[in-house]
């Protein structure tokens, strides 16, 4: 830009300033308004969207699909076009040149004009770059496969519930539902071995959370306990093992107590006189805790799967195992520890608590409703008496 241009610009600018406004209050007012708007937006995002919870870092989980912040996605995508030997063009040369060009822009662009109609080249280049960045970002966002969902717990109660579920899935077959130990049935290699309980003071007092964590992660291969940590070839992530430890600690260690609100919330919802329980609220937690460990695919269970309402109602070699309204259903007779054609007492090792058996009975009698609303409708009609029970339509 030569002296003449500079001179002209200065005059023009002084002129524009004279016709302009005062910084205070005109400009400040707009600035504050925008700042306030952003502040409200941020509070809204924090309250209504929040920060997604993620599991703890697990250096051994190489299956995790890395995902940079969204504003680095375009770089990430760019690199894909420079594989192997020429990778450094994408990682160093292009970004390096781009940053350099940005720094030197005032000296590269020597065009003295300022109105957009006289700067079509500069605007064209910048426009292309911005469109390129947006396109690369979108490409990256749509081509990165979704992350398999990982279990995360937000609160202590959720953590314990998750731990309970995982315990039921992985540990019950050897250590028993309540960690009571006893003789192992149906586990290849350990058939008939008797385990000490792990739910008493002998285990809970001397073992810290860290020791428990390590036992579960590394197993005790010499005694027959397999490793569960992913670092040792097992199926569980650190977050999941921590959840199991929390479950064990808060359930079996008589020295620790849940904060009061947690205990109330964790308790099974109580049933009023004449209220019909529903699968979602009352029955699923019982099955999850006491039955699912064996009643999943790949275990000996007469092909009776119990993970969802659908499965509970329809699967099994002697299906249906639940006939709504009929207390003679296989499942009810078996939890009463009868020996019938479909099999022996369920669960095989230890009887269900009578309160839980009662919930199952009231559920079957009430027509085995799935959701809380269906249960409420059934309650409104009045729960049928055992004598009046006759098979009704499936809900």
């Amino acid at each position: 830009m030569n002296g003449e241009h500079k001179q002209r610009y200065r005059e023009k600018y002084t002129n524009a300033k004279q016709k302009g406004v005062k910084f205070f209050p005109d400009i400040i007012y707009k600035d504050l308004l925008v700042a306030f708007g952003l502040f409200i937006l941020l509070i809204g995002l924090a309250v209504f969207v929040g920060v997604p919870n993620e599991p703890k870092a697990d250096p051994n989980d190489t299956s995790y699909i890395p995902r940079p912040e969204w504003y680095f996605l375009f770089l990430f995508q760019l690199l894909k076009y420079f594989p192997g030997q020429i990778e450094w063009i994408g990682t160093a040369v292009i970004p390096g040149l781009a940053v350099l060009a940005l720094f030197l822009l005032p000296f590269i662009d020597r065009n003295p004009y300022r109105h957009w109609s006289k700067r079509k080249l500069a605007l064209g280049i910048m426009g292309t770059v911005v469109v390129g960045i947006v396109v690369l970002t979108l490409l990256a966002a749509f081509t990165t496969p979704p992350q398999p969902e990982a279990a995360v717990a937000n609160t202590l109660r959720e953590q314990i519930a998750l731990g309970e579920e995982l315990y039921a899935l992985h540990c019950v077959e050897c250590h028993g539902i309540e960690g009571e130990g006893g003789e192992i049935k149906g586990v290849p290699g350990l058939e008939g071995v008797t385990l000490k309980p792990i739910n008493d003071q002998d285990v809970m007092y001397p073992f810290t959370d860290e020791t428990l964590y390590n036992i579960i992660a590394m197993g005790q291969p010499l005694q027959g306990m397999p490793p569960f940590g992913r670092a040792f070839g097992g199926p569980l992530s650190p977050t999941e093992i921590e959840a199991i430890v929390a479950f064990m600690r808060y359930t079996w260690d008589d020295r620790v107590e849940l904060p009061e609100e947690e205990t109330v919330a964790a308790a099974m919802p109580t049933l009023k006189e004449g209220e019909v329980p529903s699968y979602d609220v009352h029955v699923a937690p019982i099955f999850k805790r006491y039955c699912v460990s064996c009643h999943v695919p790949g275990k000996k269970n007469n092909n009776y799967l119990m993970r969802t309402y659908e499965e509970v109602m329809t699967t099994g070699d002697h299906a249906p195992n639940i006939i709504p309204g009929d207390l003679g259903s296989n499942l009810i007779r078996m939890v009463h520890r009868e020996e019938i054609e479909a099999g022996g007492p369920m669960p095989p090792t230890k009887a269900l608590k009578p309160e839980l058996v009662e919930i199952l009975e009231r559920w079957v009698l009430g027509g085995a409703p799935e959701t809380a609303e269906q249960a409420a409708q059934a309650s409104a009609k009045g729960a049928p008496l055992p004598t009046a029970a006759a098979p009704t339509e499936m809900p």
């Binding site: 600018y13 005062k22 308004l33 995902r67 450094w88």
Partner: protein, 219 residues
């Protein structure tokens, strides 16, 4: 009485001069896009405030970082709000700073006499991105860990000096406690200091040179 106090202070601090130079100056008529610079400043200050609160409970070690963030989210009163605002504020700041850059580009505000304003702006843009990169690792969750693993691998592909850069970033060959403490210190000390000083220069230039006018067809 108040008047006397003000005069006493003014004589020593030059309040009237500051008022005249900073607040009472004339500026050309501009539009709403010109608020984005001060919006960036606002977001930076807000990040500073929420960030300071987060450091009260955050522990930068691989053993405790994740749990301390869980603690902030679940136990600390309004911890979730502070973290949420810091999280979204970071995203919004990148966006706002970038659009601010596009607006100064579009109105050719980088030309004479505002070249240095632009250059200091580029430093601010890079430092803001650096804040995002270093802050992303701090929660020490899966997303953080793997994104940073990949992110620090990238400079490693540069011939000859690449592996050296990666090992400086990581403080070793793998992500470790050293990486976390390095990122933490860069995130809360080094980059904020760079940004603060550069914003000082940036704003000094903006006030000294005045905000540019919107170019018309003859410009």
């Amino acid at each position: 009485m108040l008047r006397r106090l003000f005069q006493w202070l003014d004589e020593r601090l030059g309040l009237t001069t500051i008022h005249d130079v900073v607040l009472d100056r004339k500026v050309p008529k501009v539009n709403w896009w010109f608020t984005l610079g001060s919006a960036s400043l606002f977001l930076f200050l807000l990040q500073g405030i929420t960030g300071v609160f987060l450091t009260v409970y955050y522990v930068p070690s691989p053993d405790h970082a994740y749990d301390s963030v869980q603690y902030i989210m679940n136990e600390v009163r309004f911890g979730w709000l502070i973290r949420g605002m810091h999280h979204w504020g970071a995203n919004l700041m990148v966006l706002v700073v970038f659009i601010h850059m596009l607006r100064t580009f579009f109105y050719a505000a980088y030309k004479y006499p505002r070249e240095l304003t632009w250059i200091s702006g580029v430093v601010l843009l890079l430092a803001t991105l650096g804040m995002g990169f270093t802050g992303y690792l701090l929660p020490w969750n899966q997303r953080a860990y793997w994104a940073t693993t990949v992110g620090t691998e990238i400079p490693g592909t540069i011939p000859i000096i690449g592996p050296f850069i990666t090992s400086v970033l990581r403080g070793g060959s793998e992500l470790s406690a050293l990486t976390l403490s390095r990122f933490y210190s860069v995130h809360i000390w080094f980059l904020p200091a760079v940004i603060t000083v550069t914003i000082g220069l940036h704003l000094y230039l903006v006030i000294r040179l005045g905000i540019s006018h919107i170019p018309d067809e003859n410009d």
